[in-house]
Amino acid sequence: MNHAFTHSGSASAAVGALTPEAEPPAKMSAKGVDVYYGDIHAVKNVSLDISKQDVTALIGPSGCGKSTFLRCFNRMNDDIAGCRVTGDITLDDNAITGSEMDVVELRARVGMVFQKPYPFPKSIEENVAYGPRIHGLARKGVELDEIVERSLRLAGLWDEVRDRLDSPANSLSGGQQQRLCIARALAVEPEVILMDEPCSALDPIATAKIEELIEELRGSYAIAIVTHNLQQAARVSQITAFLHLGELIEVGPTSKIFTNPANQKTDDYITGRYG
């Protein structure tokens, strides 16, 4: 686990990437995003980039709007009655809000892993094959089998389940189920993966496996992760954003946020004075 931390610490390239002149185009970019639940102003004027090479962590106390903000990136908030999102969000410089992009296409390109490791109550194979099937990515059995195997390998689950692809997904342990959910998201071959507290329901060993997996996926996918576990953010991310009461307080290289934050609130939070 320390390994991941030193790795993030050595991500000086990420620090350099933040300076405007050397900055590569962000995979996704949010500018001035506000989210309202009815009268409640949950996210206030937040701007944040999700870079292609790095893992971006969103931290903050409960109810600070970090999950709500994350869900804006694949418009999951659209499905919540009374929820309103304003501001500009782009994927490869194309707006994803409004009618410019079909929400089905967006969610295929921006996958999501949820807090609770709940696969569909179907077989392991069907769980992974579901995404490709609904998008028509693979019709034939062999093709689908290949996608299932590749996704399960990527998620580090293949060796554990290769002999029982037909058994029900909820016969797996909690950690395995969460990796299955990641495999399920990977099977659609997304460009971005959003993770909403993916380890909060897992034990430390399963958490470590997920964190290793995130490290392996880094670089191939743009990854954003919401976590309430500060050590986890420090271990897996290169960029950290701190939200408090719906506002983005500070964003920067993880090493800087955790060792030398610019804002007093950030300092108070990471040193455990509240949250």
């Binding site: 499905d79 969610r107 996958g111 999501m112 609770k116 609904i134 399920r184």
Partner: protein, 433 residues
Amino acid sequence: MARSNSRWQSQAFKARLRRRNASERRFRILGISAVLLAGAALSLLLVSVISNGYRAAYRAEIELDVYFDADLLGIDRSAPGASLEIPASADFRAVLRAALVERFPDTEGRSAIRELTALLSRGAAAELADRLRAEPELLGQHARVWVPASDDVNSLLAIEERTSGTEFTTRLSDQQVARVETLAADGQLKSHFNGRFFSAGDSREPELAGIGGALVGSALTILVVLVVSFPLGVAAAVYLEEFAPDNISTRLLEININNLAAVPSIVFGLLGLAVFLGFFGMPRSAPVVGGLTLALMTFPVIIIASRAAIAAVPSWIRESARGLGASPVQVVAHQVLPLAMPGILTGTLLGLARAMGETAPLLMIGMVAFIVDVPTGFTDAASALPVQIFLWADSPERGFADKVSGAILVLLILLGLLNGAAFLLRQRFENRW
């Protein structure tokens, strides 16, 4: 410490505790007696129905040595072979009469012979014709044949069986009773299992009447109910639960559907009468109309059960599927409906069971008719099992009382099977997530 100790030791507290325990016991006793009372009522019903109902499937039959007399029947024997033409005028009654007189040679006079033939059912001749049709080689031969006895003989046997040794009243004359006793003593009068009860249509004669026509009528009706109300009900439930905006008109719709489930069934009958018969001019007494009418009644039940089942599907399943890019319809079709289906089917089966036991709406659309033929299609005149029970219960003949119990037994068994299937579905698919 001392203070709290004295609080728990005080007389007042102990009295309160005693009162609480006493009320606990009272409540338990009340609950147990309620359960016992309900159980007793149910077993009383079952015992009474079963003890009378099994008799419906039995009938008294008399064994006769019948001579299939070609001349008496007016059948031309010149063309023997497989294709035996039995003319409509063939007088099988005469054959039976001859056989009876042969059995009791001391019978003399027309009235005595009439009394003798009255021991046989009016359907005996028709059954004899069926027998000859099945076995043409019997023509011109003697054969021992069991033919149905009349309702009065059935009643006599039933009464003797029930109140042996005591006085009984019968519509039979002393002479007839003596004949019956002779036949019984010789083993030529026996109670036989009567398959006709399950296959035949209605009849004026209890010993010939069966629930076959009503069963087919009920089956056709229920099929129409299923085909009409299941897809509509599930579609309405999916729309209301998954797609409908949460506004005043949706809520009004919901309230109306819930109220519809509580509308007395006879009102649906009136609606069916006005709409299907009056406006659309559909055929009277037809299973298709009965089915449509009962479908109107079952529809809200299915909607309510389906909505509950759909609402019980955890929201994370929808969220996971949407997160993978499934469209709303795909989320419903691939994830929500398969998981809600056991609950939906349970509700549907219960709704169907209710529709199957319903009489009042069918009365309004003319399915309460004396129908002898077993229906063969959705537009044939038909009755239904509960209506048949209602009709028989209204008949004066003694033998119909047993038929009523028998038909009730069959109806209860069918309803039990439907409810059992619903129970099994629930058990089988419970706690899938």
